[in-house]
Symmetry: C2
Subunit: 788 residues, 2 copies
């Protein structure tokens, strides 16, 4: 139970932060409201969302109270969109802003002027949570991700509580809806807790929310069904809402503590029943409640800026005047003769010790808190040591072995996770279950396999939930992999964008240090989704990510098992990136020794000497494991047919939005001309959409020599080889394309050209007929072996 | 209450369909099991998911019973993934397959042989729901969309019930979770109903589901909280599960009928409490229940193909033998001397009249059921008639007026909807509220605006839910628009892919006829998200969609209000497309008369004579409304600075994955050289990522002359003009780029080049300083007026 003194302090702190939030939204001067407002005090452009601010402040104050009381690590994640002035107000009062920005935001009147001036202004502070704001761990604005990110942050941080304010607008999104399911996945013995607080202010930008029109009973039912213990706080109930909220926070803390204590004392907690606070306070609470007969408070009309003509209209200005005056802000602070700002002692009593302030939570800053990963020895895992060319192997299984060893090596650090939408087995990563299991807090039956409370593999069939957790886990300094079906990675493309934005913007913030990269692994690739059909054939994510984020995205398409290992190693050593590794889960020919794979991984592109001739007449390039096999098969063919023709094979394994694998395309240690010659035709066989390669080689002056092949949106239930036939990426098509280039260049004559083309087309027809008849690929295709 | 006779019939039908599903998965011959199986009867490659099949069959039979009983329109949507053999078995028995494929699937033994042979085979039938399967309305496989599509299908189809089988795996996805919220949006008086049946078989591919480990009470709470009336069916309860299910179906039907009858009799139904059936039957029910001591039935081990070594291992084969024998299929059919197949009379009693079979539901086939849209008169809406150049206007507001008039003209047809994630106002479409309102079935308060039970605008803050509804609404023959924030359209990129796949695959199916296009409108564009910050600046969706689906995607970027109108008209007249219209919601200069806009819309590209010189020295191209303004402003500048230089302005308003606006790029009625000259430099200013244009002009032989400008991932809270400054798309940058091209071509000398560049850089610095100081754009930028 909160003391009367605590309630008084809470009320004062919220008055202060509500005042400062309002001040930031409206005022360009007179920001401390030392005199009544004039029109000239008002900013020319009024931005930000007032409606959600009071709720953010109310919760921030209550979180502070818990921190002070329990001296424990808290993060405060803010889901609602543009209520950033509220966050900023608290970061100012607690001193975090002045700590990180002592020059521009000193702890005095000029500091307040600064945040007022720069809020939502050009070259100022954004209008939603962002990396420049201390303590925040996601780029706010795109709704739905706060809760899953909070869950990710508390994993393996047993002392951490992530208080997460979830908006009732945000609560209508699918990603947020699925985030509640994480209570199945987080082990109270070894991880921290999330304290979700749903702010049901009832309205979105122009209408009511789903939850806003639900009864208490309905809300209670829904959250109990979800497995939580709902606690309702409602400003329309008789008890003072401050008392209700403080009580709800105490009860929540006690429940969290109880679950954790029992779990940590060895009790097996089935279905941990975490608290959730369902907080009903009016939208725009404490603002102008009515204006011109229109209901503002407790209505969508207070979502954005209310009385927004205050720069010109005296009635609007008067309303704002009354509103600001109601906070009696002057009673809450003192500025001494030296200009030092001091808040009221009651307010001070709610400010946690510096290191525990939400804005100072060290877990949010990367750098020192990163728990470095001990990496497995590749020699023990790789194919070889003799050259593996001709043997067969399995890239994803190798990656699973790497992860198994990494889990073993880092057992005590607890700094590595797999987040997978139900696909660890299906993507051939099952070797990890020799070392760990899947986390599951609901009942485990005797016949269940590889499940335990404390497993390091986090599986649920929601790409959205898991990507959010991945985000939260990695930006707080730990390492993780997100293996998923290539076709369904697209589900999280927008989340991946927001992750990239967060990391990119963080790089410009002086107090944010590097964090481990996010490693997305695409498997169950389109060529091998032949049996699953068209819905499972979709390389979109790769191409979409390679359209943008040149400083954040690295795309790796290892051609075989050893290069899958070297790229996995590289991805986990890297920082501040979103790495995309594309690797097959089926048997394929192996090509590179470990040393060769290391070189390939360093450069991202390599002429494969064993498959190439000097002074080539034509260049064949491959990017992707399955298409590489087809490339090599086409080389065997063309050398049979045209023994005198000289061909070079280029393996491309790294792509970047600025062009192939380069940061700036033209600044690579290797020259494009050295790789692709100065004047010969290039046939480029690519795993995904040809458009992806087109944009990436556009700026190369020799790009007109490129004939780019890839997935042309022709899919169905068929065979792997026939996928290539339908999309023109098969060995026979490549021979046709190389022959055309050779004919164009005068290396072969028209008769040869026609004869080769005819031959290949005939083989294509034969094979297609075979497939139609037998439903499988011909043996000579399935069992193809490289020879030279 | 079902009669004993009905229960007997249901059991027989399910025995038959379970048999036929199993047969499709395993057998290449002896498909009627006329003799014990031999190894040689087994397919070489076993595909498909057995585990979910019995549930699909069980529900299909029960849906049939309701149709027979009530003679009413039903659709049956199947969420679970690869259980297609079950759907196919039912489509065969009810005769729909033989109706649509009389040659290959006659209603006899050879028809059954055909579906067995072709199931999940190359050039056969896919392993999940697909357009080749009669009655299905989405490409199955990517989980989570069945329920939202079902809701979309029943809108404005008051007689239709969409029975939707939702998997418990699928139920873990975010999009599915948000789909339950549609009960707020669908008016029982004027629309049909969805009957959701959640199949809780407890397992995904390799582990338990969230719902699988919930108690009855928890499930009941959750769905009651969601606003439904849950009815639990459980094969572990004492009552026969067939009786339970028939009873649950009857009760559901009765509840639906009751709600609809009351609503249609004028009662205002607040919170219609639709039924949902929570159906617990074992995964792999009726299959091999244990094998080698391993639990198969009621476990994830029966997810895919069980006893999968039956082609070689006698014990596996024996198990399959026993399993198939258990259905006593031979008792369920007769083949007469002419080879005619006849099923048992009890089974026949459950087959609905032909036109009411789920596979024959006419609403799923497009063509005749399309309710044509009466289109507004553009003359009344357009800016003009005198040339609007120099005036200002607002594209999205114009679109809203068009929609308002369209709603008015089509009031009786009930064939038009807006699906918008809470953004109808925010995207400036508010004119529609002069004619209609937003649909809302929960309480409406006195202060709510533009809300009613029967509104034609469907708003909720879930892009996923709304896109699914859009899909369901349009593929069943109605028209719709999905206006959304550009930055957040990416949330549904994967759903948009699946929509495109469905439409593209449908085009190859003879009985599917064209359906209205899906019209996605992107507004709140990045240049005007200056104030909202980096999270709101994201043109990804456009670029990602333009990487693929060349036959389905049309992207339109009208430069002004009149061309927004002509493109809106075109989009709604089109069929079988996903149109993306990109249009701003803020004041911008207007350029084209209605006639000019029509010409522009026809060609997708146009030289703007009023802004161009003959025999140009350099070409400037613009694609996007805001960048077009900058282009025109740069022309004014460069003509001041270099009066003798001749410039052409090209407006590009249509893009397609095959290159610019062309279906096949090189086959356009206009020639690239005629537009872009044969040898002059081209500066191309684009709204989105430069990579998008790079891929689209790659195949043009003159592409090396292109300097492509666009959004370079540099965003924050700033001003519209400064967005251009940060990304190099401002008027000053364009002058610099044109001057460089002119210098390269020798049109201007080095002195001129240096002087112009210096001048522009200085203006950039001045403006940036102004913005930093004042937080807004300088007046000469904000109020810029075209002059020539």
């Amino acid at each position: 139970m909160a003391t009367a003194q605590e309630i008084t302090s809470l009320k004062k702190l919220v008055r202060a932060t509500n005042f400062l939030a309002t001040s930031q939204i409206y005022l360009k001067q007179n920001v401390l409201f030392k005199r009544p407002l004039k029109h000239s005090d008002i900013k020319p452009r009024l931005l930000g969302h007032w409606g959600t601010c009071p709720g953010i402040n109310f919760v921030y104050a209550n979180v502070n109270r818990l921190i002070v009381k329990h001296q424990r690590d808290f993060l405060y994640l803010v889901g609602p969109g543009h209520g950033f002035p509220a966050v900023q107000a608290n970061l100012f009062i607690e001193g975090s802003l002045s700590h990180f920005y002592p020059e521009t935001i000193p702890y005095d009147e000029s500091g307040i002027e600064d945040i007022c001036k720069k809020f939502s202004a050009a070259y100022g502070y954004p209008s939603h949570a962002n990396p420049e704001a201390p303590g925040q761990i996601l780029e706010g604005g795109e709704l739905g991700y706060s809760l899953s990110v909070a869950w990710g942050a508390v994993l393996d941080n047993p002392n951490l509580i992530a208080a997460c304010l979830v908006g009732d607008g945000e609560s209508e999104t699918g990603p947020l809806a699925a985030s509640w399911y994480a209570n199945r996945l987080v082990d109270p013995a070894t991880s921290g807790a999330v304290l979700p607080i749903v702010h049901i202010n009832g309205y979105k930008i122009s209408g009511p929310t789903r939850m806003g029109r639900m009864s208490h009973e309905e809300l209670d039912l829904e959250f109990r069904g979800l497995g939580y213990h709902p606690i309702i706080v409602d400003d329309e109930l008789e008890q003072d809402v401050y008392e209700q909220m403080a009580q709800a926070m105490d009860l929540s803390y006690q429940m969290i503590d109880d679950i954790q204590t029992r779990a940590r004392n060895g009790e097996d907690i089935v279905k941990p029943r975490w608290p959730v606070i369902l907080m009903r306070t009016a939208k725009g609470w404490t603002g102008t409640s009515e204006f011109n007969g229109e209901k503002l408070e407790g209505n969508c009309d207070s979502h954005q800026v209310i009385v927004n003509k205050c720069a010109k209209d005296p009635a609007h200005l008067q309303a704002l005047n009354d509103w600001l005056a109601s906070y009696k802000f002057d009673e809450l602070y003192n500025i001494d003769d030296n200009g030092n700002l001091q808040f009221d002692a009651d307010i001070e009593s709610l400010i946690p010790p510096k290191q525990l302030c939400c804005g100072r939570q060290h877990l949010s800053y990367g750098g020192e808190v990163v728990r470095a990963l001990a990496q497995p020895d590749l020699k023990a895992l790789s194919y070889g040591p003799e050259t593996p060319r001709g043997t067969r192997g399995l890239s994803m299984y190798k990656m699973g072995e790497w992860m198994r060893d990494a889990f073993k090596l880092n057992r005590d650090q607890r700094n590595l996770r797999i987040f997978s939408p139900d696909e660890t087995y299906s993507n051939q990563l099952q070797a990890v279950f020799e070392e760990t299991s899947r986390a599951w807090q609901w009942p485990i039956e005797s016949w269940d396999k590889d499940m335990s409370r404390d497993g390091r593999v986090v599986e649920l069939l929601s790409e959205n939930l898991l990507f959010g957790m991945l985000h939260g886990y990695t930006v707080t300094g730990r390492h993780a992999m997100f293996p998923t079906y290539e076709a369904f990675s697209q589900v999280v493309s927008s989340m991946a964008d927001q992750y990239c934005k967060y990391v990119y913007a963080s790089q410009g913030v002086h107090f944010r240090k590097p964090v481990p990269s996010c490693n997305v692994v695409l498997s169950s690739l389109l060529e091998r989704q032949d049996h699953n059909g068209y819905s499972h054939q979709n390389p979109s994510f790769l191409g979409a990510m390679l359209e943008k984020h040149p400083d954040i995205i690295s795309a790796y398409l290892p051609a075989d098992g050893n290069s899958t290992l070297t790229y996995t190693e590289r991805a986990f050593a890297d920082r501040d990136k979103l790495n995309i590794i594309v690797a097959g889960k089926k048997d394929l020919p192996q090509w590179l020794t470990l040393d060769e794979a290391r070189k390939q991984t360093k450069d991202g592109i390599m002429v494969w000497d064993f498959a190439s001739d000097d002074n080539p007449d034509v260049v064949l390039a491959g990017c992707g494991d399955y298409v590489t096999q087809e490339c090599l098969a086409s080389l065997v063919l063309i050398r049979e047919l045209l023994p005198r023709v000289k061909v070079r094979f280029v393996s491309v394994t790294e792509l970047n939005s600025n062009g192939l694998g380069s940061r700036k395309f033209q600044e690579k240690p290797w020259r494009m001309d050295d790789i692709f010659t100065e004047d010969k035709g290039v046939v480029f066989n690519y795993h995904g959409y040809p458009n992806t390669i087109k944009k990436l080689v556009f700026d190369y002056k020799g790009s007109h020599r490129f004939r780019i092949k890839g997935y042309e949106e022709e899919g169905s239930t068929t065979t792997p080889f026939d996928m290539g036939v339908r999309n023109g990426t098969s060995r026979y098509h490549l021979v046709i394309d190389m022959a055309y280039k050779l004919f164009q260049q005068g290396v072969i004559d028209e008769t040869q050209h026609v004869s080769i083309t005819t031959d290949m087309l005939q083989r294509l027809v034969e094979h297609r007929n075979y497939i139609k008849e037998h439903g499988v690929d011909p043996k000579e295709i399935e069992n193809w072996v490289w020879t030279r």
